[in-house]
Symmetry: C2
Subunit: 336 residues, 2 copies
Amino acid sequence: MVSSSVPGTEPRKVTIHDVARSAGVSRQTVSRALNDKDEIDHSTKQRVLDAARALGYRPSRFARGLVRQDTTTIGLVIPDLLNPFFTEVAAAALEAARTRGWHVVVYDTADRAEEERGTLQVISSQVDAVVGYFSCPEDEVELYTRGMPVVLIGREHRTARFSSIRIDGEQGVHSAVAHLVARGHTRIGMLDHDGRAEPSVRREWFTAAAASHGVDTEMVVGADQSADGGGAALKRLLTAHPDVTAVFTFNDIIAIGALREARRLGRNVPQELAVIGFDGLQLGAVVEPPLTSVALDTRRLGALAIEQVARLLTGVDPLAADDLVVRAELRLAGSA
Amino acid sequence: MVSSSVPGTEPRKVTIHDVARSAGVSRQTVSRALNDKDEIDHSTKQRVLDAARALGYRPSRFARGLVRQDTTTIGLVIPDLLNPFFTEVAAAALEAARTRGWHVVVYDTADRAEEERGTLQVISSQVDAVVGYFSCPEDEVELYTRGMPVVLIGREHRTARFSSIRIDGEQGVHSAVAHLVARGHTRIGMLDHDGRAEPSVRREWFTAAAASHGVDTEMVVGADQSADGGGAALKRLLTAHPDVTAVFTFNDIIAIGALREARRLGRNVPQELAVIGFDGLQLGAVVEPPLTSVALDTRRLGALAIEQVARLLTGVDPLAADDLVVRAELRLAGSA
DNA sequence: TTGAAAGCGGTACCAA
DNA sequence: TTGGTACCGCTTTCAA
């Protein structure tokens, strides 16, 4: 039995020319009909529209973009869309972009440097500016984004063309440690980000805050960026240091995994183990107990990034570093 | 003090022509240099590249797309990126798209018909195909997506050009109700989707399943699509029907809100109140108790949608309705 | 190895 | 109200 689809019959793209011929008019007239211009006879317009429909015509976005030069597309690069933190940022960025009539192409790099490179490579010819998280060296980002505004989130920049949204958690983490100390905790551990060469900035904040309270800062273990990772890390931490009574985590997802693990281990939270996360996810409100966290305003973060992109694109009045900061602050809930 | 930025100095877009002139070659030579062609002298190439860099030149993606016709961009339309279910689907779709070298523009319609229309309007001239969730009438979707493949998720279609990924939860919901009945529950309520004119399909599955077990099916209240909404709905349900001992919910987010509310009300889960959600979110594993749910394979859902788009775009061998189904099945955990 | 010319598929400006 | 023509910025083909 032969398939009814005939090879080689692949319908070549229908162009404005085809419509024009089919309707017996010129291309310009077709253009007028499709763009709702006034200078066209009603019946002509109708005829053109019918022809277009009949042929299944759709204007080429490239041709149109070429002549109109009015569409802006932003590339949003994110390590892991399944981590609610990045989802919240993405949602905020999408909304900020929509109010400007911009389009956002989203790339999930799965937190892999290799994917990051691939994305960068491909992105440069598809968008007008880039916003997002990158872990690869700045000169690589620089290399692939030649001539394009770039806004980095949560990371310093050197390149002039780049901007950074700085995440300032120093105060917040200090408050968190202070809170724990005030509650009588002296053995405070941390579940840090795993897999990076150097310790995270958040860890540095933690270390500094702990030291300033005369608290030991040696009890740090790395955790995978997931709830499971957080659980496993807590287990390791408690095995190595059974006397730990409080933990600060790199982010909320890890903290949530830690909460679950604590429950499994029969450790009461917050009585026997206090947990403080970082991010302030909405998700933290639905776990038990609700998660105490050093919270970021993710809406502001996303909106700020898009705002800066807007300024960089128009070249007017870009925000200075001092305005490109999102401060985290301690938000108390049930877990500490 | 006068600002140093001079109005009217806005740098006109640098084109290939500018680079050519600056390097003292023709445009084609510039093109060759930039696209790593062989037929070019090494020193010439270097000179062109330098000129391009100096001018901050970036090729127009429109001009390039126009002539190369090789980039595919999909529009992914989602009601609410903050709902983890849609995030999971989106992540799956992004990954499936990436393996094909496609770009995905994401639009969050905030579950509002108005935004849906705006998105549809704008999308048609920006993408090659559309995948996603729509709540507005099919003829509106049809109107704006003229000539473009469309894959609807979780919704039937009539239009020939459209495809649907069907979500089949009939079996799964039946199993869920059977499970509850086997556990001795006879008063089973439902927290349904709110804000739609007609009752949801999931409610119909529930009603049918309950009826087949001789269980009353009248105890349904609407819930907002959020944890808070789920909590509020549970409260209303229990107020109206204090004898309810089990609830089935429209989705997991609502169920998670219900779990939290149950805790606040002092109702033990699952002993005094059994809860079963729908979606099978990864998130369900981190709440307490872990959520029993009628689970969907979101990875498959997203991948299937992209797969079908691929077939529609090439016109070869689109999947038939029977293959465009994702079945949900009961996944037991702690909450029921 | 390089350049001239012809498109890619539209829209804008003009004259008819 | 219409159509001719130029042009948007780039790549491809073909000569030089």
